[in-house]
């Protein structure tokens, strides 16, 4: 592959200590290298912002989003952000595009690329449904992908924890990642998914799961310890119990404390807590509901065993989709909204409900504020991942909007000025004047997600990294983001260049090439589990399949045909 050099850019590469310097970025064979020959193609960045390609470490982009699409013909025609939403006809290069919260696969690939994002992590898929997710992955162009596999209400997991059989738990976890070609372990409302099959839920860490003698706390500890014993690149990725309920901060703090006793197998968190905004509420009802971001931030500022992402809310229509089945049913009843549900045998639950967030509703305005408060009150940006929990809090095409909110106090105050009075004593955001700089923003949108996931080749521009680069038409040394946030937002929405694996895929906001992305997955089974344990697991699984599953064991595992560009990662065996 031809060589390339990016000149005259203002480079932010926090992992390598580069903070707005005019470094050259050299690329060869799809990788960042230290230098290239004189014949290398020159990309003149003209003093513009140069960042590693964006990494979305938590997005709902393949799998249950497809049911959301079927539910949402209205969304397909909706276009609040021209160029990044709504129907667009095919071109000689591009397939037709539709949608805002639930775009078609091609639009997902094009639009993330336009934002300068190059890697995305599907946040929730059961092993049994992984084949479907990979079919959509194959159809999403350009981007590299990976998947977090739902194990928090899984029968095998709960059985082995109940039995105190940590070896079987480890073996199953490794096997489940292999079977689904998954990357990491996701835990959603631990135990609650299993109870939801009976139409019930759990109300906290110490509730009993109906059909197993385990609690959500047992599940979290069991999975976290197995995760570390397998030395997986990512920690467990947790959606706490009691999402969206006033007073849920108690559960969230208890969950954070619970994990203090687990030791990380490598230099990263032992738990990533996702969409923290939905889990940081004080109060006893919606009447006295308020932000608990200060308590959460205090805890995180004084502890180093966890990271979190914002789950920032965007005003306007959203599409909620989660394995948290009971939450979706509650949403549907509360808003008299349409409701889809899916209980996946032996594995987890799930639901889909369209919602709309209004700046004129104090609860929504408070939730919007909480996401920003969390990111601004936590001092170390390496603990914070930027997300909207796409499209639960809002569609990913709004990332530049939310990033500007973090970088401009003025912009925040303008929005807050329009909030109903009932909001004001529930939030602390009006008194927070911190504005993120480009280095911090780069950490939260690139370097931190890559580190949190254990993806060494992403999120930075050092030699050996994948040549995923975003160049934006922003002159960091000339622009005052705090004031000129509208212009900067536009620049972040349509990258000047997006380079993916050394190939220019976006030029001046338009897609120029459609390479096929890779799929990262973790094989901790092959070398990580000894043969005797593999035999023990398979014997047990065969029995389970015969009795309880609706498909044959031999047809269950995702076949090679579904992962055309795999990158297999094998953790070092402890």
């Amino acid at each position: 592959m031809a060589e390339m050099v990016i000149k005259n850019g203002v480079v932010y590469d926090p992992k390598n200590g580069v903070d707005g310097e005019r470094n050259e970025i050299c690329i060869k064979d799809g990788k960042i290298v230290n230098n290239v020959g004189a014949g290398a193609k020159v990309v003149d960045a003209e003093g513009c912002l140069v960042l590693p390609g964006g990494v979305d470490g938590h997005t709902h982009c393949a799998g249950k989003i497809n049911t959301a699409r079927v539910m949402s013909p209205h969304d397909m025609r909706y276009s609040p952000i021209p160029g990044l939403s709504g129907p667009e006809p095919r071109t000689k290069l591009l397939r037709p595009q539709v949608g805002y919260n639930t775009p078609n696969t091609h639009a997902i690939g094009y639009r993330y690329s336009k934002l300068g994002y190059t890697t995305i992590a599907e946040a929730a898929i059961t092993p049994m449904m992984a084949r479907h997710m990979h079919e959509e992955f194959e159809s999403i162009p350009i981007l590299d992908k990976l998947a977090l596999v739902l194990l928090g209400s899984n029968w095998q997991v709960m059985q082995y924890i109940q039995d105190g059989d940590s070896e079987m738990l480890k073996s199953y976890m490794a096997w489940a990642l292999l079977a689904s070609r998954g990357y990491g372990v996701k835990v959603v409302n631990p135990g609650g998914g299993s109870n939801w099959t009976w139409g019930k839920n759990v109300s906290g860490l110490d509730d009993k799961v109906i059909d197993f003698d385990v609690t959500p706390a047992d599940i979290l500890i069991g999975l976290a310890e197995a995760n570390e014993a397998l030395n997986l690149p990512h920690s467990i990725h947790v959606h706490c119990n009691n999402l969206g309920i006033p007073g849920n901060i108690t559960t969230t703090l208890a969950t954070m404390k619970l994990l203090e006793k687990v030791k990380a197998s490598q230099d990263r968190q032992v738990m990533h807590l996702t969409h923290m905004q939905f889990h940081s509420y004080t109060g006893t009802s919606w009447a006295d509901f308020a932000s608990g971001s200060d308590q959460i931030a205090d805890y995180i500022n004084s502890h180093d065993h966890l990271t979190f992402d914002m789950g920032q809310m965007i005003f306007g229509p959203a599409m909620t989709m989660t394995a948290d089945g009971p939450t979706e049913y509650r949403n549907a009843r509360m808003f008299d909204a349409k409701w889809s549900n899916y209980d996946q045998e032996l594995e987890d639950a799930g639901g889909i409900v369209p919602l709309a967030y209004s700046s004129q509703h104090f609860a929504h305005a408070t939730m919007w504020s909480i996401g920003l408060e969390l990111a601004l009150l936590v001092k170390d940006p390496w603990k914070v991942m930027f997300t909207t929990d796409n499209p639960n809090g809002g569609a990913f095409v709004n990332y530049p909007e939310a990033q500007m909110l973090l970088m401009s106090d003025k912009k925040r105050q303008e929005v807050i000025a329009g909030f109903p009075d009932m909001t004001m004593d529930r939030i602390s955001l009006p008194n927070i004047d911190r504005e993120l700089d480009w280095g911090e923003m780069t950490v939260m949108t690139r370097s931190m997600p890559a580190k949190m996931l254990g993806l060494d080749v992403k999120g930075h521009l050092g030699a050996g990294a994948d040549a995923d680069v975003a160049i934006y038409d922003v002159k960091p040394d000339k622009v005052d983001v705090s004031v000129e946030h509208e212009a900067v937002k536009k620049a972040l929405s349509f990258a000047k260049y997006t380079i993916k694996g050394g190939e220019v895929v976006v030029r001046d906001g338009d897609i120029t090439a459609l390479p096929k992305g890779k799929v990262y997955w973790v094989n901790a089974y092959e070398n990580g589990i000894v043969q005797a344990e593999k035999d023990r697991l398979i014997t047990d699984l065969e029995e389970r399949f015969k009795k309880y599953y609706s498909m044959q064991f031999s047809n269950y595992m995702v076949e090679d045909a579904y992962v055309s560009r795999p990158v297999e990662m094998r953790p070092e065996v402890a």
Partner: protein, 440 residues
Amino acid sequence: MPVIKDVVCTFCGCLCDDLEVNVEDNKIIKVGKACKLGRAKTMGMFLHERIEKPMIRKNGKDSELEECSYDEAITKAAEILVAAKRPMSYGWCSTSCEAIEKAVVLAEETGSLFDSTANVCHGPSALATQEKGAPSCSLGTAKNYADLIIFWGCNPVHAHPRHQTRYSTMAKGAFTPNGKKDKKMVVVDPRNTDTAKKADLLLQLTPGTDYVLIEALRAIVNGHEDVLPDEIAGLPKAKVMELADMCKASKFGIIYFGMGITQTRGRYKSGDNVSSLLSDLNQTNKFVMIGMRGHYNVTGFGQVAAWETGFPMAIDFSRGSAYYNPGETGTNDVLMRKEVDAFITGAADPGAHFPQESVKHLYTIPAIQVDGYANPTTEFSDVVIPAAIAGVECDGTAYRMDGQPIRMKKLIETTFKTDEEILTEIIAKVRELKGAEGGA
């Protein structure tokens, strides 16, 4: 004798994946574990009217089909589609998702209308999902949990023969270890079907009154039984009360619904109301539904179309972008308006299943058929392209009625091209022809 185990049956939406198939000299000689329908399809590869060669009509509809080469047929198909102003692509439900993906590309490339057999089947279920959502579960969940099974407007004994033993009435699961003994079964149908004969309760409602009955159940479940008349949907109120009580008493109930809901009076509004009933019932106990999909991969069509285009069916690519407005852009909508001037269909039989007015119009326009078997559609097709049978002669993906994807196996070798290959070659030819014309 070599036995291929865990073969996926490609007949109905049950997609049973436990068949045992004996192959000798590239012939299927025995199919174990399958139902009559599945065995007949898998065994009967060459027993039915297999299309042996590509064929074209050279002198209009009344001339005979003449054998030709694949190249000739594919070129002719491409010429028809490129020349058309309002082409339509229809069917693609008894084939693999990989083929359906190609069918989407061809439709985009030719600015076609694009629709599936759901147009005359479960299409209204998708509309109901748009109205009120689809509270559902996997078939294995139902097997393990369901203690109340309601078959509404469907007849699995004949249409989905292994459904009851594998997934529903007779299946033994984690919380239903005794199978039928742990479950109640209800049938709602105007007919006393063979399924109904084994039911604990049969509600033989007046045809076309499904919506009324659902509405009555909602009233009872929500505590408003006093407003109901003595007779509902042709049934005594007491009988409706009995069903409502069974629903309320169950721990996990499921409604399996068929054409009796989707293609009778009320259509998608009945489906919408089923979802609403389930939403109500879930306040006290778990209740979900699954549509009894017919073609083994009609669910897959909806999935592929949704992720590729944003819409599950009835898509119009004539504007370059995907436009969706069922009622306007559904296959029979446009055929009845006589808008379509060229037609390609695969793995479906519109000739047998469409209203007469639609078929009459099809007889007046150039038609292309891609299929393994001759059927009434062959009678008016101008280009007939034989295809390998997915799940027997080639592998690929299919989605079960509950949305579970399973990989189909290739059991025997074939000289027939697959649907995917045929579509890929038509796409290439279309691009070549359009390139020659200087079109976009």
